[in-house]
């Protein structure tokens, strides 16, 4: 159980479980980040930019649960995050997320994994792409050939 460059290209689709974005969820999220912007409230709100990360979570959960990767949540650090937006996410959108591993680098016991999550509506409209870099510090006993 380890991770290497052969894992690049592995894809995790949460398409079976689209996320329906609701007006009140957007408001709750805006309140939680302390953002009073009126664009995130009212009858026809858009979501705050980083809400895209919440939408990517179902695909990330599948990646984290892949037994071939053997990742441990308590050993993962979120190193970098980027979003590219096609249009804002709005209340009423039904969003699917597909995460794909794009880079794997190793430095000793630390594995640096970059993955890209494409967010689209169930009708196939591309909304945003999230790119995340995480570091996973694998326990040495679990690592490699001697195990």
């Amino acid at each position: 159980m380890t991770i290497d460059a052969t894992m690049v290209g592995r894809s995790y689709s949460a398409a079976a479980e689209p996320y329906q974005v609701g007006r009140e969820k957007i408001r709750e999220f805006a309140e939680a980040i302390g953002d009073p912007n009126p664009a995130y409230r009212g009858n026809d709100p858009i979501a705050p930019p980083t809400f895209a990360f919440v939408l990517s979570a179902r695909a990330l959960d599948l990646l984290l649960a892949d037994p071939d990767l053997g990742l441990r949540l308590d050993r993962i650090v979120h190193g970098a995050q980027k979003f590219n937006y096609v249009r804002p996410i709005k209340a009423g959108d039904e969003v699917t997320a597909t995460a794909t591993i794009t880079t794997v680098r190793k430095a000793g016991d630390v594995e640096v994994i970059m993955y890209e999550t494409v967010l689209s509506t169930v009708d196939g409209e591309h909304l945003a792409t999230s790119t995340a870099t995480v570091s996973h510090n694998r326990p040495s006993s679990q690592n490699g050939e001697s195990a």
Binding site: E28, A32, I33, T50, Y85
Partner: protein, 135 residues
Amino acid sequence: MTAVEVGAELPSLTVTVRRDTLVRYAGASGDFNPIHYSDRMAVAIGLPGVIAHGMLTMAQAIRVVTDWLDDPADLLEYGVRFTKPVVVPDDDKGATVTFSAKVEKVADGKAEIDITAIADEQKVLGRAKAVVRVS
């Protein structure tokens, strides 16, 4: 759309992050990693104590840009590196994070904005950059 010149500084923003802020963010985001509410769990992985969700700091930082834009829908790209954790003590004062931003480039109807995030006199985000649509 917002008009802009290279070198322009955006109004800065200071936020206070307390333990209840983290509890609320955990609930709204679904990120229930215990290092964001349990000192015991945070210390167990080598942190000084409970830290803020990096995604919360990222969400707060972009307000410097979206508060300044006429319409937050004009945000096209936004990326950060999480360079230092924001440690949130279990008291009424919490942690204070100050965000500032400066326009670095304007071309082809887009502006590149660099964002700085400081907590406890240290940068907590690296290479924090937004690209926005401008007139």
